[in-house]
Amino acid sequence: MATESRDVTEATETERELTMSRAMVEAIAWEMRNDEDVFLMGEDVADYGGIFSSTTGLLDEFGRDRVMDVPISETAYLGAAVGAAQAGMRPIAELMFVDFFGVAMDQIYNNMAKNTYMSGGSFSVPMVLTTAVGGTYNDAGQHSQTLYGTFAHLPGMKVVVPSTAYDAKGLMHSAIRDDDPVVYMFHKRLMGLGWMPSPSGPKTAVPKEDYTIPFGEADIKRPGDDVTVVTLGLHVHRALDAASRLEDDGIDAEVVDLRTLVPLDTDTILDSVRKTGKLLVVDEDYQSFGVTGEIIARAAEGALDDLSAVKRLAIPDVPIPYARPLEDEVIPGTEGIAETIRELHE
């Protein structure tokens, strides 16, 4: 049933291409068809199909008992997902924007994430918390965060961040089948929405059959010898753009897509850094105490002697502002990534 991860370039031309949202929904629908314990709940997931098209069409196939619109009451329904999961079901609960975690964090990090540990392993919480992340569309500080580091920091949650349709489907199959709580963070800009154009990268060939992508396996989206760029989510595509711009200058950047933060594929990062000696980490989360610092720490712990230069690009510890020039200033862009790679190469 499961197939190994593979490079999307291997996909045959006869395979259809899907947007990331369609790929996610396809995996959810397959799992719901094959396991009666899987059900979905969230705000506007039924008739609307998810504000970011993360559940489009599921109501028609599965009905209201399995695709449940819930009150705007995140503490109640996320906590209910924990209770249903502990009772042996496999709920998928959507938090519309990750920024809303503030009203329900107790259920997320004290119950969902800790009950397995605090029960000494006698309870499991097999649920998926799906949530939309990211900015670049001028929605300001309460609707634009990624908060990757916040969720990856707190123990007990597996944290998944797809950047392509192929990865989104395989990671969703893995997430639903996993016996632990999985936070599945999808970037709004990558979903392929008619009203929020995606870059060209996330729409990929996607096999019709089900397949899993194991957690803890980063994907080298572009191999290169000169500089390692470690990133995730939307910034995989910005890093790939930056890398191709640098080709003509003879700079060969390697782009590592983390795909999962917990577990983290430290080996792939270290192998790449040992090869290039230069590391740039690009993140759409806040800079301090976050993903960039963690990746750099792991590189330093594991490959200090091979490192000659390190830099990071992230949100510079300010809330994400509304106006276009302000938001563009704080979210790392393709130009800035290219420039930083160039500096590292020098």
């Binding site: 009150p71 009451s73 109640a76 996320l78 209910a80 079901m89 107790d106 119950n111 006698s122």
Partner: protein, 342 residues
Amino acid sequence: MVSVNELRTMYEQMVTARYYEEQLQEEYLVGKQPAFDISAGPIPGELHLAAGHEASGAGVCLHLRDDDTVTAPHRPHHVAIAKGVDLKKMTAEIFGRKTGLCRGKGGHMHLFDPDVNFACSGIIAQGCPPAVGAAMAAKKRNTDSVAVAFLGDGAIDQGGFLESLNLASVHDLPVVFVIEDNDWAISMPKDRVTDVEDGSRRAWGFDLPGERVDSDDAVAVAEAAGKAIARARDGNGPTLLEVQVHRRMGHFMGDAEAYRPEADIERAKQLDSIERIADDLRSHGVEDDELDEIRERAHERVDDAISWAKEQPEPSPEEAYENVFTNPPATAATDGGNEGGD
């Protein structure tokens, strides 16, 4: 109507729970006198004892089966005992032992027993949403099992509780919420935190039945809970109950209760639900000899559990790295961020 056998069952659970708290109180103070150090002795950390709450646990759980789910708050022992949680493993957990319910990772506020679907947790109203979820699972699977969330009167202003009432109501879920009103939220009396003296009236705002049992009369609790649980089991939706109980031992061990009028402490001690249910049994013709026998059996069970727990090994330090996940990732460094890994 509560039968005489049901009275016997409740009486035994109540005297078990009371004696359990009295014994834990003694064990807890070992190593903590004359200077009180919360981290010293065989039971470290906070300890919230439920003496005076027994009628609520026994009266509600009388109607529950192993496949029914219970979530309890930080003052959980009487509910756990009435729900049938393994007393030895529970005690070993409270003593922080390897063979405890949670392998020494939870302690007295975080007891998990999957065999009887019991869990408790330390944050106010935290167990309400998971109880709603257990009820949701029962309904989706077309079983007739129910869920009960216990909470204190200090929890009734918490969003998680109110949100849970709403979600349970709109989906007609088989769940019962039981407020144990012991008059005090640590040092805050009820009239200083809410203008609604009767907590069961919170139900009105969600179009749910709410009922208050004004005394900790186990029979009255059992009757009210019986109706509520039958209603849930029959698919007729949730109910909110409030039960008057009494706090006989302070908020937690070490609480000098300087904020509490002496008369209120005395009153709590005099209103004893256990004496009341003993009288009920006598009025049904049960002899004192039999009551003594039940009490002795209960005491022996508690003594055995405590002796057993104290003989159990402590967990080895490397076990701290286990159980972060049910399926630990292959890369050890990612399981909780420690080299130890599962």
